[in-house]
């Protein structure tokens, strides 16, 4: 086994651990915004590490895998931002655990809460 293969294997293992933690986060978190948080971050680094690992195992692919990593770094946060924004405008508001409910949700000055929808969620 060459040193490149060992590095590639380690990167792939790290990537799959983070992807697993992302899935666990989506399962455990209480509402959609927190699930997005866990999903976005863990899957971004997980996928990046996995793709880089593949690049190390197959050295002729390394430049292509770098391009893929750049695209993932740009597209992943944009998609989760779009999901979060659409969810808020659809009327599902973030779960607030602390007592200071009024100040904890700054976005309601842009999208005022609708009362009947709030009860449904």
């Amino acid at each position: 086994m060459s040193i490149m293969e060992i590095i590639g294997g380690i990167l792939i293992i790290i990537g799959s651990i983070f992807l697993f933690l992302g899935a666990l986060g989506i399962y455990r978190m209480p509402d959609i915004y927190n699930r997005l948080q866990a999903g976005t971050k863990a899957t971004t680094l997980g996928a990046m590490s996995l793709i880089l690992g593949v690049g190390f195992l197959e050295p002729s692919w390394i430049l292509k895998s770098l391009v893929l990593i750049i695209f993932i770094a740009f597209s992943n946060p944009i998609s989760s931002h779009a999901l979060a924004r659409a969810t808020y405008r659809r009327g599902h508001y973030p779960l607030i655990l602390s007592d200071d409910k009024e100040n904890m949700d700054a976005y309601q000055e842009v999208v005022p809460h609708e009362k009947e929808k709030e009860e449904k969620v």
């Binding site: 209480p30 915004y33 948080q37 863990a42 680094l45 770098l66 946060p77 931002h81 979060a84 904890m104």
Partner: protein
């Protein structure tokens, strides 16, 4: 959009061409002459057609100082990304699920749309924060563990380290 002067057009064209050519070389992964010639011609045509559409910056973007800050920004971003993942991992694994979610807002000093996009993306990928919306210069951020609802303090906590560098690039 206001009319561009010839200098601006030329600058945008060159920046576009350089970045598309870099992308081409990365995709083909070779320096063979025929690949470079075809790629050069294709990327030249594309960047000529897209002068008005896809460019953000003029020639000053390629100055060594800015490229240095771009590399530096990438380093800062990578450290924050790894921290974010360890942070998420810690929250997900710990049995009590230590979260205190909420939405905070802050104002940024950045002017151009592209720099705001880069900042918003970086915030989404850094510890515990998710950009919900950007309206003019106000960012609305979902924070998994709200430490402060005051816009100024939230700004220092979340975005200051990125903005410092971005102001030097854009």
């Amino acid at each position: 959009m206001q009319a561009l002067t010839l200098n601006q057009k030329l600058g945008r064209f060159i920046v576009n061409w350089v970045f598309l050519m870099l992308l081409w070389i990365m995709f083909t992964s070779t320096f063979a002459a025929q690949e470079l010639i075809v790629g050069g011609l294709l990327t030249m045509i594309i960047s000529l057609l897209s002068i008005r559409l896809f460019t953000c910056c003029d020639l000053s973007l390629l100055s060594p100082v800015k490229i240095f800050w771009m590399v530096y920004y990438f380093g800062v971003f990578l450290v924050a990304l790894i921290q974010a993942n360890l942070d998420v991992a810690r929250r997900v694994i710990s049995p009590s699920l230590p979260i205190n979610p909420g939405v905070v807002k802050f104002k940024t000093k950045l002017k151009t749309n592209y720099s705001k996009m880069v900042l918003a993306n970086s915030i989404t990928l850094t510890p515990g924060t998710l950009t919900i919306d950007v309206i003019d210069d106000t960012f609305y951020i979902h924070w998994i563990d709200v430490k402060t609802t005051d816009p100024e303090k939230a700004f220092t906590e979340i975005a200051e380290s990125f903005e410092k560098v971005l102001l030097k690039i854009f």
